[in-house]
């Protein structure tokens, strides 16, 4: 998560209420690129952090409609143009009979693109044989707010700010000293 060249202050929280308050405070304090890790979804957290609503709705809707279009055109082309057969005296373009497969093709492409757009493009995730989080507790019951130091927010100031948010534990991650960073209890 952390870009190597930056220093970070990590605040671990057990209490979701304190964590959410800290996220709001971090956004209000004007921090940039802060990362919030949660073991389960917290509704409205993206608003507290100033994130925009996910954009994946429209592309998925487009793919769904495109799938339906492809499905219909496939049937029309095969049944009317490529190899027309008279079946039960029906017209070659017997579109009501094509509705079900049109619908299913739309659903299929919509569902597949929903999964792939979400994971690969929006979240930029890839399956890996090794994924290390800052702490394994982050998929259990602990929340993490990680704030990077920058020109406006120095490391000591951020550390003091983080302690003011009442986390259970504060950790500083400094590029060269990353391995030596000792947890200090607030």
């Amino acid at each position: 998560m952390a870009k190597r060249e930056r220093s970070w202050v990590l605040g671990y929280f057990r209490d979701p209420a304190a964590f959410q308050a800290a996220c709001s405070a971090s956004h209000a304090a004007g921090h940039h690129d802060q990362q919030a890790y949660t073991p389960y979804p917290i509704h409205g957290l993206e608003k507290r952090l100033g994130l925009r609503r996910s954009w994946i709705g429209r592309p998925v809707l487009f793919m769904l409609l495109f799938g339906a279009f492809l499905g219909f055109m496939m049937q029309l082309w095969m049944m009317k143009y490529d190899w027309p057969l008279i079946i039960a005296g029906k017209p070659f373009n017997s579109w009501p009979a094509f509705v079900v497969i049109t619908f299913e093709s739309g659903i299929l492409l919509g569902a597949l693109s929903n999964l792939l757009i979400c994971l690969l493009i929006a979240c930029r995730l890839l399956p890996a044989t090794e994924t290390r989080l800052p702490s394994p507790r982050l998929t259990d019951d602990t929340f993490l707010l990680a704030v990077p130091a920058d020109g406006n927010h120095g490391l000591p100031a951020l550390d003091a700010w983080m302690r003011g948010q009442h986390p259970d534990e504060v950790v500083q991650v400094v590029p060269d000293l990353a391995a030596a960073a000792e947890p200090s209890h607030a």
Binding site: M1, Q35, H43, W83, V100, E104, I107, L126, T129
Partner: protein, 479 residues
């Protein structure tokens, strides 16, 4: 003071207020790391024997031909299509729980959605065997799909409902699997971070798709999950409608009615919830998940069984009214035959199991008794199988050509496959119980009343009236 089991499985809130986030992690992942118990091994052995006998029958069928089954004029659709429609129907409850209850913000679904979705996938996997094997030459099943071929190219016949089925079932299977997988990703990450074995950790890492759980990831993930619910809702209603077109489009007496799509969907949800109760009542004690899959959850499933039982009961009655109203002697004869003919026991088994036996659920004591609901769920499953048999076989036995009229008589191979399909389904479900989180860990943490044990939670706040049935409509957290 530690709460007793009776308190844990009858909570006033959705889940007992003493349950913390870390308890969920520990309890749900425990079966993955624990050596399986004797119940599991016993179940696996029995289901393995059942499914092996089914595969053996398929092998015999490939050598001898489809004639080993009880198919003959005029009943050319016998036990295989009955199994197919029965199992596709079973799958519907899972999608209903995962998609439709999500859209209605029913937070109680979080305890049962994972296992119900697994049930859907295994039911579709079971159902899918039958159209593939019934062709007699399953190695040529790819002919079902349109692909550029050297026969013209000659294309499938898209005006046939059987072709619609190919697309509906394969889309349903695919969509169910990826919806289920999306839900599993954060939970695979939880398992990954608990693994001590290197290879286990690698496997769960791959399955978790590099999941980190940052606010940005959750933001997209929650949107995608909601979109899946929107995509799956029309899908689940359409799949069994499409299956019913196989029959409703044909002119066989008893099939050619417009009531079929809703009738089939209601029956599917009814049978599916029967299977949910049948699986979850033993599973929760086998995996020690009583505090997550509480009696309240099972009671809500039983209420749905009762409601859908009355819908199918209404449909059965309406079929008779429609036959009488049609003035068609064929239709009228068909329904008199169903009630009084040589296979009347099929009809009455269906009626007793599907319409009469769920009526016991009017009693709250029965709805909350594990033994009673388990027995009724078995009746529901039997009833649903015979409902399909009643529609397909009995109609074909009395078609429009009186000279053809004859009864369907199943051979031993028919019945081995019926039993074996349950073995195949149970086998897959038992493997799932050992290798994947059977309860949606991340979703259930979001509905705990006091996840961190800070005491700041809203004890008894939601759902304190009733048993969690209408809990959480006001809550911001997704269920």
């Amino acid at each position: 003071m530690r709460p007793t089991l009776a308190e844990l499985e009858n909570p006033i809130t959705l889940i007992h207020h003493s349950v913390r986030s870390r308890d969920v992690t520990k309890d749900v992942t425990a079966p993955i790391f624990r050596a399986p118990n004797l119940t599991w091994w016993g179940g696996l052995l029995i289901s393995l024997l059942m499914l092996m006998s089914m595969w053996l029958t398929f092998a015999v069928q490939m050598c001898e031909g489809i004639g080993i089954l009880g198919l003959n004029k005029p009943v050319m659709w016998g036990s295989y299509i009955t199994n197919f429609v029965f199992w596709i129907g079973i799958g519907h409850a899972g999608t209903l729980i995962s998609a439709i209850l999500f859209l209605f913000r029913q937070r109680w679904r979080t305890s049962i959605n994972r296992s119900a979705e697994a049930m859907t996938i295994f039911a579709v996997a079971t159902a899918g065997l039958f159209p593939l094997i019934h062709t007699g030459r399953p190695w040529l099943d790819f002919w079902l799909f349109p692909y550029p071929n050297d026969r013209g190219p000659l294309w499938p016949q898209f005006r046939s409902p059987l072709m619609w089925d190919v697309f509906a079932i394969s889309t349903y299977g695919t969509t169910s699997v990826i919806f289920w997988y999306l839900g599993l990703i954060p939970d695979f990450a939880t398992v990954r971070d608990r693994c001590t074995n290197k290879f286990q950790r690698m496997a769960y890492s791959l399955a978790a798709f590099g999941w980190r759980g940052t606010a940005k990831d959750w933001n997209h993930y929650e949107r995608a999950y909601a979109q899946f619910a929107w995509i799956s809702t029309p899908l689940v209603l359409s799949v069994h409608s499409t299956v019913s077109f196989d029959f409703a489009v044909a002119k066989v007496p008893g099939w050619h009615t417009t009531i079929f799509p809703p009738y089939f969907v209601a029956g599917a949800i009814f049978g599916g919830f029967g299977m949910v109760v049948f699986l979850l009542a033993p599973m929760r004690s086998m995996l020690k998940l009583e505090k997550y899959i509480t009696i309240n959850h099972l009671e809500l499933c039983n209420k749905i069984i009762l409601a859908t039982s009355m819908i199918v009961g209404y449909a059965y009655t309406m079929e008779f009214v429609a036959a009488w109203f049609s003035e068609s002697p064929w239709e009228r004869n068909q329904f008199i035959y169903r009630m009084t003919g040589g296979h009347a026991w099929v009809f009455w088994t269906m009626f007793l199991c599907n319409v009469v036996s769920p009526q016991f659920f009017w009693s709250k004591r029965v709805r909350r008794s594990l033994m009673a609901m388990f027995i009724i769920s078995i009746f529901v499953n039997i009833g649903m199988w015979f409902e399909r048999a009643n529609i397909f076989m009995l109609s074909l036995e009395r078609d429009h050509i009186t000279a053809n009229w004859r009864m369907w008589v199943g051979t031993k191979f028919d019945w081995i496959v019926v039993v074996g399909s349950f073995g195949w389904f149970m086998f897959l479900f038992l493997l799932f119980c050992r290798t994947m989180p059977t309860v949606a860990i991340a979703e259930i943490k979001a509905v705990l009343s006091d996840p961190a044990g800070t005491g700041s939670g809203d004890h008894g706040g939601h759902g304190s009236h009733g048993h969690g049935s209408d809990a959480g409509k006001e809550s911001p957290a997704h269920g």
